[in-house]
Amino acid sequence: MAKRERKPRTPMPEQDPQARARNFEEVALGYTEEMAVEEASRCLACKNKPCVRGCPVNIDIPAFIQLVAERRFKEAAEVVAQANALAAICGRVCPQEEQCEKYCVMAKVNGPVAIGRLERFVADWAREHLPQNGAHPQPAPDAQRVAVVGAGPAGLTCAGDLAAKGYRVCVFEALHELGGVLRYGIPEFRLPRSILDAQIESIRRMGVEFYTNTVVGRTFTIRQLLESGFDAVFIGTGAGAPVFLNIPGEELNGVYAANEFLTRVNLMNAKEFPVEGTPLKRPRRCAVIGAGNTAMDAARTALRLGAEEVTIVYRRSREEMPARAEELHHAEEEGVKFQLLTNPVEFIGDENGWLQRMRCIRMELGEPDESGRRRPHPVPGTEFEMEVDTAIIAVGQTPNPLIRQTTEGLAVEKWGGIVVDERTGATSIPGVFAGGDVATGAATVITAMGAGRRSAIAIDEYLKAKRAAT
């Protein structure tokens, strides 16, 4: 055992930074079987499983890792799949260092067991080695019906879980493709489209029906869904409304919300313009404002579109950056620059309304604010200008207002989120549940999935009670 503990984390092979900064291929290449077995052998199989407490969907982590160590990959994949229908995605985009891996006993020894990489390995292994067209039990003709609004991580998880419980589930999606933020927000170099497609297909095979091009709140309302014969509704519409800085010049051409920039590239494939119809101004000198995962995604996408210089501009210091350590590291390796303790105060354009420069001011950190992070203050007399033709604003999102504006009787928070029972996702309307960013504000893929899962359990209980009452 002692020898085992001293082994360092097995690194995951990656594309060379120079090369990958100019292509959209996946950055991290994944473990081989040998690497996975070696990494899995570092797990101490703790009896009290501290890692599981850090997992929003409660995967039995020691169990699946032991199976990997024994080269029983199929069984390992089954253990993961029981808790997580989207493991290939979570293994790629979860902030593991703040969840499962944070609680790993090995963290104090020689780095935590690479739980996320192993999750990714077993999910990928299963997709490559196991038949993907096996028969799934389909919902019974008299099954109760659940409508899921939004085909992002919360909605997909809730739909998959409910289908597994035997319900007839219909997912309504506003865009023409499924996946929500996984499709329009997260770039291909972090989450290849083939992986996303395969995960959605696995949910479709469980009998879930998908209807795209449907804006609930406009095409029809939540109320109409209930009146049309759905026994319950889950709202997982995310936090899709961009936050702007409210500084002068923000309307200039060349100033993008990260959502628009990423949607044009990821969903509408603007990098292939004009073969593809959606245009995008190719950035040359680009500033990305913000330091979360979305900011890193936008910065790295700008590089891949051929930008000469990409700079992350963030008003706090490196320690406060909300992005995953790995994404930050990848961005640095690829050549993204950082202007920390810096805040934009004005965008300056030419006479035709095109962005030319960005005026910024240096910041210093004071006392912690309500978020627990030290509050930044501008330092007088430190203003300077950066020459930029593209500025991408990635400072956060608020819940899309459509559902709350069109659903009478739905209680909402002051900041726009839907009021829910934290444990069940139940809203103020009986039979209507909500979860993910629309209830909690912008968070991560896995917290949205956790909410989808909790609501699926609560909806199951609600529907059983409803059936028993009739």
């Binding site: 219909c170 506003a174 865009l175 023409h176 329009y184 029906e209 209807y211 795209t212 091009n213 449907t214 804006v215 406009r218 095409t219 029809f220 109409q224 869904l225 049309s228 014969g229 759905f230 899709g240 409304a241 961009p242 702007f244 409210n246 923000e250 309307e251 200039l252 051409n253 993008y256 919300a257 959502n259 628009e260 949607t263 044009r264 509408m268 313009f273 004009p274 073969v275 593809e276 119809g277 959606t278 245009p279 101004k281 035709n352 309304g353 095109w354 899309n400 207002p401 459509l402």
Partner: protein
Amino acid sequence: MDTEAPQDPRKSGDWISGNGHACRLEGLLNPSSYRFEILEKERLSESVVRMVIRAPLVAASARPGQFLLIRPLEHSERIPLTISHADRAEGAITIIFQEVGATTRELGGLDPGQLVKDLVGPLGTPSDIRRFGTVACVGGGVGIAVMLPVARALKQAGNRVVGIIGARTKDLLILEREMREASEELIVMTDDGSYGAKGLVTDALSRLVERERVDHCYAIGPLPMMHAVCRMTKEKGIPTTVSLDPVMVDGTGMCGGCRVTVGGEAKFTCVDGPEFDGHMVDWDTLRARKSIYREEERLALEARSGKA
């Protein structure tokens, strides 16, 4: 306006015709509700096309002033187009558009029996239809198609509608008969004097406001036209509503690309609009934003014609 089903929706002047029950479960869960077949196509002028497309769920809930997003082919851009008519009984909507860029030409190249790849709606906030009194409905070019459903609804709400429509030349003037039906009085203007009176719609509007009291004005058309109307009505103190169509991607408030400055605040055209108080709109920044992809539009056209 959505209560009674007229006998023949085609003959009816109502904007929304037929009752339809598309929002019932069988409609929601019928995959054919999401197959957008082109039912009719008609050229209103050399470059303006009228198209009727099957979209029962959209038709069932559409209101005047709302739009849809359409992606004609797999590789096309998603573009916003105003819903000109919603036929609930037929489960169909009508769009009228001018072929100017690559995407509108791709759409115009489709024929009855074919499907458009994607269509989503209705989007945007419906027009605030009220009884104002006398309303001047000023439409320019293909903007007349956007004006028509609003004019019809205003008339139905008991307003005295004076229509003013204009085009560069006679052949480009569309929907004259329909606008005449929707108005108590219709004034037709052409820039070159080939039809109606010679001059701009603003000339006709200024004569109208000198002649009689106008309580509200609607102006829908090219940006310079709407701006000119607003300058004039602001001076005369006539509240004016305009309908804007800046660059848009998702149409549900997600991307922020369609932001316009209204009364000093950033508004999203797709959810806060598309109609705004014309006297509050910052026309200069809007003009700049509308030109953002001018060069790309040229490239896209070249790429498409190269393919054809």
